[in-house]
């Protein structure tokens, strides 16, 4: 796989140009973190990424530059490999039996698949929120939030308490749960559970947060709350969100990438661009058809 990666990096000059563009575009909220250097922006670059389940190729040659500290939505019909693709970014894809990834994914220039990057470490830097809220049922609310911190150790009890509160505040959940931090995470409502999972994810201070249809199991009110939260979090994190909901994509994202499926059922990237442009004036007929079909 290593040699394959090297080859793709050397040959994909077209992708390099796009990268240069993406890097040149100033991040919308970079000012809020002046201390962070340009090399610590959370710039995610995918080059010729393919993902397979055994012999089946679910994602084909995706090249995509994700703008730092913004929200990028991945949209497209069911089964076009969007979820598979974001699972390659934090190296979750390879945990399934027979699943493989080729191509290159880098974060601020560091190849996430290089030999000196341990997948366990990569997942701390690239956090993930899942489709179904999945608080750990045997842990309390505060234990859920601190679970990632306790794994690595080296954080004192009082520090942990502070981070738990801070994370819950950022996830807009603190006021609802501050009285019952010792209760199991599963005692919360679905929307609260998903915000708990977001708090849990940001507690370990990742640079990128991946969200795999985070609202698909929630009612409209809970969905709106999560969407607001996503907008707030974009000030600090690079967010990639998979969604089936066109309105949601248009509400929360800065950039949109549209995926489709070829004749072999392999997902590929059709086009990408600023969300407003994609929804009003897409370049590809395929995109236009999908978006209009969905909007009726």
């Amino acid at each position: 796989m290593a040699t394959e990666k090297r080859n793709t990096q050397a040959t994909s000059t077209g992708a390099k140009d796009e990268l240069a563009q993406a890097a040149a575009r100033p991040a919308a909220h970079a000012a809020s973190r002046a201390a962070a250097s340009e090399s610590d922006a959370g710039r995610l670059v995918l080059e010729n990424v393919s993902a397979r389940y055994g012999a089946f190729r679910a994602v084909k040659d995706v090249t995509l530059a994700v703008r730092p500290k913004s929200v990028t939505a991945l949209i497209g019909p069911s089964g076009c490999g969007k979820s598979t693709l974001i699972r390659t970014i934090n190296r979750m894809h390879e945990t399934l039996p027979g699943a493989t990834v080729s191509g290159s994914i880098s974060l601020d220039g560091v190849d996430l698949y290089s030999a000196n990057v341990d997948p366990v470490r990569a997942r701390r830097v690239v956090g993930m929120v899942f489709q179904k809220p999945n608080p750990f049922p045997t842990m309390s609310i505060s234990e859920n939030v601190s679970s990632g911190l306790r794994l690595t150790g080296g954080t004192s009890k009082s520090e942990i308490e502070g981070i738990v509160e801070d994370s819950l505040r950022r996830a807009a959940l603190w006021d609802e749960v501050k009285e019952k931090l010792k209760q199991p995470g599963t005692s919360l409502s679905g929307g609260q559970q998903q915000r708990l999972c977001i708090a849990r994810t940001i507690a370990v201070k990742p640079r990128v947060v991946l969200m795999d249809e985070p609202c698909s199991a929630l009612d409209p009110v809970a969905t709106l709350k999560i969407e607001e939260l996503i907008r707030d979090l974009a000030a600090e994190y690079t967010i990639v969100i998979v969604t089936h909901n066109m309105q949601q994509a248009s509400r929360v994202s800065d950039e949109t990438a549209f995926f489709s499926m070829d004749d072999d059922r392999a997902g590929y990237l059709v086009e990408t661009g600023p969300t407003a442009e994609m929804f009003t004036n897409p370049k590809q007929a395929l995109t236009e058809g999908y978006i209009q079909g969905r909007f009726g």
Binding site: S39, V117, D118, V120, T152, K205, R207
Partner: protein, 289 residues
């Protein structure tokens, strides 16, 4: 901490991370070793039984009775098949009927009570069933095949009731409702739709109960007791059975008898394993508690 660059976070392992990875590796090894240990007994047992029994597996072993000049265990093979066969014939229909009742008719309250009774009966040790038959039936019927069949039936009844109920539970309610909506009476629906759909699973339960009864020893020692004579279908007197032969010959001081105990164990094990391979091989993933 916030100030660490991504490059540093991604590429530089911390001390705690190294030890975490080491623990994960050690546990992974331990878990694999445990799986190996879990199958080791089967391998060792089969190998041993094969080696010890090989010299005694001659035609006369299968064709003659214990007192013949070339002694064999024919009467035990015949006895075992008769005892377990009759046990299944008696407890099978009763168990299946009870399972059908629990799944198709019983109110939630009866289901709760019935399931509790099944759980308790499933946990009854075979010796308890044996003592029961010894105390209650042997004084009346004497040491006999009937007493043995009664003891074995106590053990197989809950197995078949549980397996019947569980496979019937897997029959989708929609199929039943479709039949009832066509005006088919409840009893015909239960038999022709539910039981028919679940029949392979129900039969699996019956066969596994047969296999379980075939290996039972303690209840037989107190009831059928064993004999050197060949007994065809006379359940009112003592009968021989393979588990009895193994148990009694194992304690003998005679090399031939000990060898025949191993050979009988091989036959018994071969039957039990063949049944299980055939049945479970088809319906992998069946859960019998």
């Amino acid at each position: 901490m916030q100030m660490d660059t991504i490059a540093k976070l991604l590429t530089q392992p911390t001390a705690s991370e190294r030890s975490r990875q080491r623990v994960s590796w050690v546990m992974r090894t331990l878990v694999g070793v445990s799986a190996f240990l879990a199958i080791l007994p089967l391998v060792a047992l089969i190998a041993f039984v094969l080696i010890k029994s090989a010299p005694y597996l001659v035609p006369s072993f299968f064709l003659n009775n214990p007192l013949d000049t070339m002694p064999g265990i024919l009467n035990a093979i015949v006895g075992s098949l008769q005892l377990t066969g009759l046990t299944v014939l008696i407890s099978g229909p009763i168990g299946i009927a009870g399972g059908v009742y629990l799944s198709e008719f019983a109110s939630p309250r009866v289901v709760a009570i019935g399931e509790t009774a099944i759980d308790v009966m499933l946990g009854v040790p075979s010796i308890v069933a044996g003592v029961f038959a010894y105390l209650v039936l042997v004084p009346v019927l004497g040491f006999s095949g009937w007493a043995a069949v009664a003891a074995l039936s106590i053990l197989t009844l809950p197995i078949m009731m549980r397996s019947t109920q569980e496979v019937l539970r897997l029959v989708p309610q929609a199929i039943r409702e479709a039949s009832l909506a066509l005006g088919v009476p409840v009893w015909r629906t239960a038999l022709l739709v539910s039981v028919r759909t679940a029949l392979p699973g129900i039969l699996t339960g019956v066969i596994l109960a047969f296999s379980r009864a075939l290996g039972e020893t303690a209840p037989l020692l107190m009831t059928a007791r064993g004999t050197n004579a060949e007994n065809w279908l006379d359940f009112s007197t003592t009968m021989n059975a393979m588990p009895i032969v193994i148990y009694q010959y194992a304690a003998a001081a005679d090399d031939l008898l000990i060898g025949q105990a191993w050979a009988t164990a091989l036959v018994l094990m071969a039957i039990a394993l063949t049944i299980n391979v055939l049945v479970r091989g088809r319906t992998v993933n069946s859960r019998t508690a």
